[in-house]
């Protein structure tokens, strides 16, 4: 009896990985604060007081971010249910692999897609005109910003919510079918318990993304009335060169976002299982085939396709044409593609590895009853650190020890890695937590621990999530335009930077073709990781 108790006690202990994870988390937090501190210290004077105007901006930002987040959830939830329910009959599952595209798209590219749908000469207006109706009025303002934020974030939510639904064991659905549970009962008894744990983390992530929104606000907001703290940070740094004020605003942003993250993640025990599991063997539920239920699902799917897929199609349509041949003859295209791929693969795999360590640490700590919020907080915070403040701060810190021109590729890699980390972490952490519950006893019984357990048991089981995390992280960094713009040099040119240079010289056709090329590459990179991981997982299982 004593011989069996010992290994079980062992896996309850947090272990070295927990300390390593905590160390990384503290290091990340310190780095963010050091970057902000560097800004303030270079300024050489304390920041002026934050005026009432800034507090109004902060309040407006929070309102805008909350609305965006709730609207995205309101769209994603019915679509996730429809996708799950209609996976077999309508093949609605095909939406999922495409649905991550908006998440990783550079905002400038996305904005052209949105205008291609909702603009004066967009799909919708053209269609209305064809029917003899009035064209849409200009969309710019808070409404356009909300629409854009839903476009970016609803697909991510769909992915995660759908993952949560597919993690419900088939036995529960069989029971529900036997009992003939009503739609509402089913949602309350089966679906909600599966969705509830993932929703707070999801809301926190999307809130942060919308809170720190910048280019889109300036492009679609219609004027200075629609603004965010990030816009004010940028103008403090660039227009006024007031480093101290920028640092102070960045800190304010960090505090507000930090409070939201802590508040929301305290509500949850675990997070996401992002990869759909097979759904065969699930019987039809009562009412699934009713006209009402089918209409609701069809409406949700149609709305989702219009909001999140049409803009992508608009970018495809604009990009296809003779300019594709023009850009294909640029040597710069191939150089930039290679540079971008190297950066994307490096920062993507780094982010995935660090996320794996942190997620394992979280699982261990959670099992051992230790606090996990320091991990959640320090990682999520990278979404709340203004990219321009982070970049500028790192620049100030590192130029004292190294040549900045040599640093550019490294800084871009690290910067992109930091931005992708929260996504990768969320994806892996949910799956690891679920696995721990399933495997702990077994592994303890077999005496599998540490590296051997990771290689033999955990890695094959989480291969799909690893693929998703690596694909998402790489794709995110492939589309990055913010960080690369801070560290210029003639030799170092990524694809988004090439796109930016093309646009600055009137070349609309070439820019559209480059956008299409970038989008295709992003999709291939993501699919490559997903498929590779799936094959790897299958081989190991066999």
């Amino acid at each position: 009896m004593a011989a069996r108790a010992q290994p079980i006690a062992l896996w309850r202990r947090p272990g070295p990985i927990s300390l390593v994870g905590l160390g990384i988390a503290i290091g990340l937090l310190a780095l963010a604060l050091a970057a902000i501190g560097a800004l303030v210290s270079v300024a050489g004077h304390g920041p002026a007081g934050v005026g009432g105007n800034i507090l109004r901006v902060a309040a407006f930002t929070a309102m805008q971010a909350s609305l965006s987040t709730l609207l995205a959830l309101a769209l994603a939830l019915p679509v996730a249910r429809a996708c799950w329910r209609r996976a077999a009959t309508w093949r609605a599952g095909w939406l999922l692999p495409f649905s991550f595209l908006p998440v990783v798209m550079p905002t400038t590219v996305a904005a052209t897609g949105l205008i291609g749908v909702w603009g004066q000469r967009g799909f919708v207006s053209d269609y209305l005109a064809l029917l003899g109706l009035d064209r849409l009025p200009p969309i710019y303002g808070l409404g356009a910003v909300l629409l854009a934020h839903v476009f970016f974030n609803a697909p991510l939510m769909l992915r995660v919510l759908n993952g949560a639904l597919t993690s419900v064991p088939a036995s529960q659905w069989r029971l529900s079918a036997q009992w003939g549970l009503s739609e509402w009962e089913r949602f309350r008894q089966i679906e909600w318990p599966a969705l509830r744990p993932v929703i707070p983390g999801l809301l926190a992530l999307v809130f942060l993304l919308c809170f720190t929104s910048f280019s889109l606000i300036l492009m679609l907001g219609g004027g200075p009335a629609v603004t965010t703290l990030e816009v004010n940070i940028y103008t403090a740094l660039r227009f006024d060169f007031d480093l101290a004020l920028a640092g102070k605003l960045a800190l304010l942003q960090l505090v507000i976002c930090g409070a939201v993250v802590v508040l929301l993640t305290r509500l949850t025990g675990r997070s996401w299982a992002a990869t759909p599991r097979p759904t065969h063997g699930v019987p039809h539920q009562k009412g699934d085939t009713s006209t009402l239920c089918r209409s609701v699902d069809a409406l949700a799917l149609a709305l989702f396709i219009i909001i999140t897929m049409l803009p992508v199609i608009a970018i495809l349509v604009r990009g296809l044409g003779p300019y594709l041949i023009v850009v294909s003859e640029w040597p710069a295209l191939y150089r930039a593609t290679v540079t971008s791929l190297v950066i994307a693969l490096s920062s993507g795999s780094l982010a995935t590895m660090i996320a794996l360590v942190l997620a394992s640490a979280r699982t261990r700590r959670s099992d051992a009853g230790l606090a996990v919020w320091p991990l959640d907080l320090s990682i999520s915070l990278y979404l709340a650190v203004s990219a321009i403040v982070l970049g500028t701060g790192l620049f100030i810190l590192l130029r004292q020890v190294a040549d900045v021109f040599l640093l550019a590729p490294l800084l871009v890699t690290v910067g992109n890695m930091l931005i992708a980390l929260p996504f990768a972490y969320r994806v892996l952490e949910g799956r690891l937590a679920a696995l721990a519950t399933a495997h702990d006893r077994l592994c303890a019984g077999l005496g599998l621990r540490g590296w051997r357990r990771l290689r033999r048991v955990t890695l094959p089981a989480i291969a799909p999530e690893l693929g998703f995390a690596a694909g998402l992280s790489s794709a995110l960094s492939l589309g990055d335009m913010t960080i690369v713009a801070l560290f210029g040099s003639q030799q170092f040119q990524t694809l988004p930077w090439l796109l930016y240079q093309t646009m600055a010289r009137y070349r609309a056709g070439e820019a559209a073709a480059l956008s299409l090329w970038l989008l295709t590459l992003t999709f291939l990179l993501f699919m490559g990781f997903t498929l590779a991981a799936r094959m790897l997982g299958r081989r190991r299982h066999a």
């Binding site: 270079v42 052209t112 205008i115 291609g116 603009g119 004066q120 000469r121 200009p138 280019s215 300036l218 492009m219 679609l220 907001g221 219609g222 004027g223 200075p224 009335a225 940028y234 103008t235 740094l237 660039r238 227009f239 006024d240 060169f241 710069a332 190297v342 950066i343 693969l345 490096s346 920062s347 795999s349 780094l350 590895m353 500028t392 620049f395 100030i396 130029r399 040549d403 900045v404 021109f405 040599l406 590729p409 490294l410 890699t413 713009a485 801070l486 210029g488 040099s489 003639q490 030799q491 170092f492 930016y500 240079q501 093309t502 646009m503 600055a504 010289r505 009137y506 070349r507 609309a508």
Partner: protein, 335 residues
């Protein structure tokens, strides 16, 4: 372990590539400029080639995201900056730039070598090109554009314009100063009256310009030289700049050398080279601006509007007032 190896190797590869590019024997002249100047379609490559032929040096353009980005970068780097020259500030930034104390007098004689519509004399900054801000419209869609700024401000609501944010964009700041120079203390009311016609305010010039090309607005704030691009490259003259009776606000782009330039002799040589015809002749069809020195203009520039007056605040006026004027703009458009 293999998973760890790939990114490490990738980083090393990138570092080694950039190292090998840096490790040249010949002296390197480092020029900070904005992205589109250094890009393949900009004037950078041609200028680099001609200057390298006469200086026996390497010209290294470091492309930053905007003119304000260039100044911010040298301010961050301070006296230990590796830059010899910054190229791409404008008169609106001159006072701020001079006050940093990071720049040195250029020692270049400007007398009789410039062709600006306004007098320009400065011992720190050499102008390299200039242009007029103007609203560009599609003459096939709009037969009679407004003929003055006041007409635009008081135009019916069905004229839709797209402009840039003065805090993030050079043309945006240009329009702010244009309105201020025409309306004086009534600028706030003018903005409030213009406000319903503004479709949106974008971060950069291209965001606004591409929206205009996509038919989102009837007019876009750009340069009076924009139509020349469409004539030369697209072969169409349907895009025109609207001439305004009050005259047009100008932008003069300038270069300066740093006090602690690692290659002061080369830097001085380049400052003089700026006003040569080798440099200036590249400007019109590569930077789509007017050359600041003497150079022939291409045919496409013949039909461009000739403003009745060139408006330009002194660098000191801009530095002293821009924050207050931007505040005024923000308040007027936030109502």
């Amino acid at each position: 372990m293999r998973t760890l190896l790939i990114p490490v190797m990738a980083i090393v590869a990138v570092m080694v590539t950039s190292l090998s590019l840096q490790a040249a024997e010949t002296p390197v002249l480092t020029i900070y400029t904005y992205d589109s100047f250094a890009s393949e379609w900009g004037p950078g490559p041609a200028i680099e080639k001609t200057f390298e032929a006469e200086c026996a040096c390497d010209v290294n353009f470091v492309a930053l995201d905007s003119s304000i980005g260039i100044l911010g970068r040298v301010q961050l780097e301070g006296p230990s900056s590796k830059a010899d020259i910054v190229l791409g500030l404008d008169t609106n930034l001159m006072k701020t730039a001079r006050d940093t104390g990071l720049f040195a007098p250029h020692g270049v004689s400007l007398d009789g070598r410039t062709s600006l519509p306004v007098a320009f004399a400065d011992d720190h900054f050499v102008p390299f090109d200039w242009g007029y801000f103007a609203f560009v419209y599609n003459s096939e869609a709009m037969a009679t554009p407004p003929t003055s700024l006041k007409a635009l401000v008081n135009a019916p609501d069905d004229i839709r314009i797209v402009i840039q944010d003065p805090r993030t964009s050079t043309p945006g700041l240009g329009l702010l100063l244009w309105v201020r120079s025409v309306y004086g203390d009534d600028a706030g009311e003018a903005w409030a009256s213009l406000s319903p016609r503004i479709v949106t305010v974008t971060k950069g010039w291209w965001d606004a310009y591409s929206m205009f090309l996509d038919g989102e607005a009837d007019m876009v704030l750009s340069y009076s030289t924009s139509p020349a691009y469409h004539i030369v490259v697209d072969g169409t003259d349907k895009y025109r700049a609207a001439a305004f009776d009050e005259g047009h606000y100008m932008q003069v782009e300038v270069a300066a050398m740093l006090k602690n330039a690692p290659q002061p002799e080369l830097a001085r040589q380049f400052m003089d080279f700026i006003l040569s015809s080798d440099f200036q002749s590249v400007i019109p069809t590569k930077n789509w601006m007017y050359p600041a020195g003497k150079a022939d203009l291409p045919e496409a520039f013949d039909g461009l509007i000739q403003p009745v007056e060139a408006r330009l605040y002194s660098p000191e006026d801009v530095a002293a007032n821009k924050s207050a004027w931007v505040g005024e703009w923000q308040r007027a458009l936030s109502q």
